[in-house]
Symmetry: C2
Subunit: 135 residues, 2 copies
Amino acid sequence: MQRMTRQRTALADLLEVTPDFRSAQQLHQLLKDAGQNVGLATVYRTVQAMAEAGDVDVLRIEDGEALYRRCARGHHHHLVCRECGKTVELAGEAVERWASRIAQEHDFVDVDHTAELVGICRDCAARIYGGGARA
Amino acid sequence: MQRMTRQRTALADLLEVTPDFRSAQQLHQLLKDAGQNVGLATVYRTVQAMAEAGDVDVLRIEDGEALYRRCARGHHHHLVCRECGKTVELAGEAVERWASRIAQEHDFVDVDHTAELVGICRDCAARIYGGGARA
DNA sequence: GCATTGTTGAGAATGATTGTCATGCCGTCC
DNA sequence: GGACGGCATGACAATCATTCTCAACAATGC
């Protein structure tokens, strides 16, 4: 049984109002800043349970650190701004089709796939490149 | 300038004959087993340099550990068997088109993407599922 | 050969994540 | 309302991949 504790409520509430991907360490700090003391181990445990339950998405950045974010149920992908963290959820049917076609072509079964896009959003591009066009 | 040292040669030779993704720790152990003592730090440094140069591919497994593998030059994706590690390199033009279309739709620039497929190859499927069909 | 300078390696340091286990609190039953 | 059983918590230790440090080393150019 999943008990609804103060800690889990606090973390769920925090994720509800946090639009960007955050590490477990960051979430722990944010809770502390908000006066909600929640143990680091509890943050890790809870966030992992939520990931398994499909309530949050997990993203691994370049150095292997795990980032979490509240997400819509169901399979989808992301487009993330590497500057500000702004995230767009993608249905990505084209990717599903590609993955299943490749799997068939090579006689693979039970094929899962990961597909993430990382770029720079319009606002950050304007700020960084001074509004100039850039491919 | 890049000097050709005994250590780099040994690592390059090892990667040349290693078809599957291996962690830096594993590569270090394999070198030791082969009588080629190469420091762990050197393995990490060398493998990272090779990754930057595009001579090896990097793959992050679920727990964040980095795996390396000799690869063809140029951008491509992978289809990996989660049982035996068998790897197929994919040109994946469909993914490139999808990524660039999504980037345009959302006004993102400088968009990189990752896309990896993980499944079970025909041989392993036959071994595991007893040769029966399975989607 | 010899100097120059990038490279190596042993071990310490880092930092995220996980394990430990006594204590605490939620849900339940009375 | 109050007791109880057991999952949940948290402070801290432990783990483990990866990076750092820096003196000793060895390619390369001459």
